[in-house]
């Protein structure tokens, strides 16, 4: 049964079936991760702050996200009377849509990908940058000064950090010669002496630093969370939202976290390959798939843990300093990285 599903998903040529299976699997994967992440983030932040964090609902408070979800479902939906109704109501949909779309081109095991398009990386970048539109819609539609300021900052932020993000990936594309995420992971599947993995973080350390900083900024997390800095802008662009519409923004935000860390793992940490372990299970049919998924998810959670750790440790930067960092530090570094990569590869 499981074997059929796994092989079915990886070998199906029919786009329709592949899409339907893919979208269900992606939604399940993302929602389960989001539910777990909400708990994990609160718990880790609490432990960093020497607090207990959620510990009432279920063991270690693990049922807290489900309780929160039920609470949000039963909330009354309030639309401010001064708001632009159409923009206000459609913004959460747009946010959700553009958070979900990049996941279509990220695989979690060999062949286990919703659509194996050849322009994968370009598609992911193009679609994920569109989520700014949702933030602008929410900020302008709410007719709230805090929301508007938050949305304006988001626009500035994603404009400035998209350049380094896109440019830092070019080195990897040049090494692999393909934009397809499956090919990028396959190019990292070997190891020196059988144990040291040939991950791109060793080939492209500079690109990794630039990419990671830019991803944190694009996700709008501390130290770059100026779009919803609680202490000055109440909640930023979603100040006026409540109930299910707020939940959609929250879901989109955590989906960005999942997709972003999955992208970091795919590009720099060898995706679903671990030097010794992958070799042992390589010819074991569906067990191999499960091992690959487990490796991928484990790596993803290491990245997510680091992101939460950063959030618990650092403070928020100021908007002008943040934009300067993007344009004056990350962008030149990304350009230098392209030149270095080009020169080394052609020697």
């Amino acid at each position: 049964m499981l074997e059929n599903i796994l092989y079915g998903a990886s070998g199906v040529e029919n786009g329709l079936i592949r899409g339907i299976v893919g979208v269900i699997a992606t939604l399940l994967f993302v929602s389960l991760n989001v539910l777990f992440l909400i708990w994990l983030e609160r718990k880790i932040i609490a432990r960093i702050h020497v607090r207990y964090g959620p510990n009432r609902a279920g063991r270690y408070g693990m049922l807290q996200p489900i309780a929160d979800m039920i609470k949000l479902l039963t909330k009354e939906s309030i639309v401010p009377k001064d708001a632009d109704k159409i923009t206000y109501n459609t913004a959460p949909w747009v946010a959700f849509l553009f958070a979900l779309l990049p996941a279509a081109a990220i695989g979690i095991a060999t062949g286990l990908i919703s659509t194996n398009i050849s322009v994968g990386l370009l598609y992911i970048v193009a679609v994920s940058s569109l989520s700014t539109i949702a933030v602008i819609m929410a900020g302008w539609g709410s007719n709230n000064k805090y929301s508007l300021l938050g949305a304006m900052r988001t626009a500035a932020q994603s404009l400035s950090y998209e350049m380094p993000l896109v440019l830092s990936m070019i080195g990897i594309v040049a090494i692999v010669g393909s934009l397809n995420t499956q090919n990028i992971v396959a190019a990292q599947s070997h190891a020196w002496l059988g144990i040291i993995p040939k991950w791109f973080i060793f080939y492209q350390p500079l690109a990794f630093v630039v990419f990671f900083s830019a991803v944190v900024a694009e996700m709008g997390r501390i130290p770059f969370d100026l779009q919803e800095s609680e202490s000055e802008l109440v909640a930023g662009f979603h100040t006026e939202y409540g109930g299910m519409k707020f939940a959609m923004f929250m879901f989109a935000e955590y989906t960005h976290l999942v997709v972003g860390s999955a992208l970091v793992v795919t590009l720099f940490f060898g995706g679903w390959y671990l030097p010794v372990v992958s070799g042992i299970f390589a010819n074991m049919g569906y067990i191999n798939y499960i091992v690959q998924i487990a490796i991928f998810v484990a790596k993803m959670y290491v990245i997510i843990f680091i992101l939460i750790w950063i959030r618990g440790t650092l403070t928020r930067t100021r908007i002008n300093k943040m934009l300067s960092f993007g344009w004056k530090t990350l962008l030149p570094l990304a350009l230098i990285n392209i030149v270095i990569t080009g020169v080394i590869l052609s020697l």
Partner: protein, 128 residues
């Protein structure tokens, strides 16, 4: 799979991505409590006081120069991707070309930097 076939899943993703929030908001509206409407409940939030004026006013977009610069750079980035993909097939000649291209790009950045475009235009130097 053909090229068009590859994009069918994305169309399905778009459909589901639009339907899912709709369903959730609909379910929420079914089981959510609609209490009696009070006029204060529908006011815009402004720290608990009655909001002064609308947020739809003239707003100083302080980063518009960044936005202009972004358009220039973004278009040029698009040219770098095809180079990266076919890089191994063309070799040293393309590398020299791209280094010249990046030098032009970097020169543009330095020019903008010197012109003060990369400063947050807050109308005063008090922030620095």
């Amino acid at each position: 799979m053909g090229l068009a076939e590859d994009f069918i899943p994305i169309v399905i993703f778009i459909i589901v991505g639009l339907m899912f929030p709709m369903v959730m908001v609909f379910v929420s509206s079914l089981i959510g409590r609609q209490k009696k409407p009070e006029p204060d409940k529908y006011l815009t939030y402004e720290c608990g006081v009655i909001p002064t004026g609308s947020a739809w006013m003239q707003h100083n977009v302080e980063y518009y120069m960044y936005a202009l610069l972004f358009v220039v750079f973004d278009v040029e980035t698009v040219f770098l991707y095809p180079w990266a993909v076919v890089f191994k097939k063309i070799g040293i000649f393309a590398t020299i070309d791209v280094i010249i291209f990046i030098c032009v790009l970097a020169f543009g950045l330095v020019y903008a930097w010197k012109k003060g475009v990369l400063e947050w235009m807050n109308g005063g130097a008090s922030w620095r």
